[in-house]
Amino acid sequence: MTILLEMIKTKSATVRILHWIIFFSTVDLVITGLYIGDPVLMAGVGEPYQTFVMAKTRLLHFTGAVCLDVAFLIRLYLAFFSTFHRDWKEVIPTPDNVRGAWDTMKYYWTFKGQLKEHRWVDPLDGLTFLALHFILAMQLFTGFALYVSGIELASGMIGLWAATLHAFTDWTGWLFGGLPGVRVVHHLTMWIVVSGAFLHIYMQVWKTIKLKRADISAIISGYKLMAVKKGE
């Protein structure tokens, strides 16, 4: 019996597109968010209407946020109802998944034991994926809590939007001590996203180099190499 490596489809086109929407909107959100949190001066001393740097940056931030949140919600839907692969079971911290994640982690550091090959996500990636989405959800709630304070006097449809946001985000104010606390949490969580994204990119590059299974290819083409048993 020989073992052959074959390109196997592991990610649907929708999931790949959503991944890159999340990537680009996160980059946009981090850059614009850092400016909004501590603006560097670039407008000069002319008339305000000639620049609107902050207003435009905030527009980019809100646009990125809406893209990220919509992508997030669609991805959440796909985890349960995808026609290609429903992966919600792989990201739940069941005892099996936790043990699997620990084994994978051990292998990454020691190369001892065996690394199980997974067509979908390995348990370590799965649990990290879940943690990342809790973090993104935190950004969603704290971000909209900050955002709605600017539109809460709106009426009509926008007023309905504001009321909806209030209903979903007011708990952050109670939990973190008003808008200043919400702002600090929003900023701290951004750093968790940044360090998490760094580790994620590092691990994917590392896997591609060391395991030689074209892991990075999966998020671009949808295919990665997997061992396929052939008879004879």
Partner: protein
Amino acid sequence: MSSSPSDSPSDKKLKLLSEINRRDFMSLCTQVAVALGMANTMVPKIAEAIEKAARRPSVVWLHFQECTGDAEAFLRSTSPSVAELVLDILSIDYHETIMAASGEQAEQILQKTIKENKGKYLVVCEGAIPMGTPPGPGGKKGAYLTIGNRTGLELAEEVCSGAMAVISLGNCASYGGVQAQKPNPTGAMGVGKALGIKTVNIPGCPHNPVNSVATIVNFLLLGTLPATDRYGRPLFAFEKRIHDQCTRRAHFDAGQFVTEFGSEEAKKGFCLYKMGCKGPQTYHNCNIIRYNDHTGWPIGAGHGCVGCSEPNFWDSMSPFYARLEGVEVPFGGVESTADKIGMALTGAAAAGAAVHAAYTFGKKKAHKENIIDTESGEDK
């Protein structure tokens, strides 16, 4: 010791009232209408309500843990003699700062007022109520504040229980103020929270007298207290965010900021966001009504907002002269700023990755053989 009738305090008050001319009086009524967001057709009704106020409920004004700043602000009400006008008309029967009586006599007046007007008087509170018990013998709950041998808590409970409505003036009475901030040694809290009652809160440090006058006039006119937000603040004054009606907002949107007091940017009136202005987190009408005879307000004077109308602003809004970069975050016993923690986190991630890379890339072994497949061979 007796004094001639013409020198008595009440006569003096009457004299002051008689000095107010119709023009000043209507000017006050118009201001109140503006503050309440009423049409100018309501001005005669406001005037009528105030004029009829000789038969209006008596007011008991209580002082707790505070600096009397709100009484001072109230007395410096913006139109000529508004203080005298409102004080006379409202029949403020007990006010520790301005009443003529003192000692036994004053306490008798208080008792008489709350007995005779039970359920019909307004209570205006100023200052927080300490709920803690001082250490040592004889210490009882709330004894950090004792007035006439009674704790502030007892006094508040007695007076507020028979009141028609309780109005908290200033941040201390509303939410506890500076003495309620960490570590809050006296267990101070706002009047509403301390007594477990609903109060109308008019926070600010000090509160703006236009807002308190407007709240009282609202009560005289309609017989009800104004609608309030989730922090018990009247919506007519605290519905809008400072940031959204700021005179410097255009500079915020343009990205033009003051980075140093006294700089060229400060002289040009740029946005004070980078100087720690808390306008984006603060709900108040002080940039519309303004203080000191409508002449000025903090941001107008070139100083950032400190958020004095928000609950716990001393803790939650500080440091007053920095935004995010200066906010300390409790983190494992060490206080640091959000950015320092974030950079440390990212640095730790990078260091972990570097160690891992150095270690694993040092190993030459190919690991393909070690990988076993568990799921492949299904569909493509």
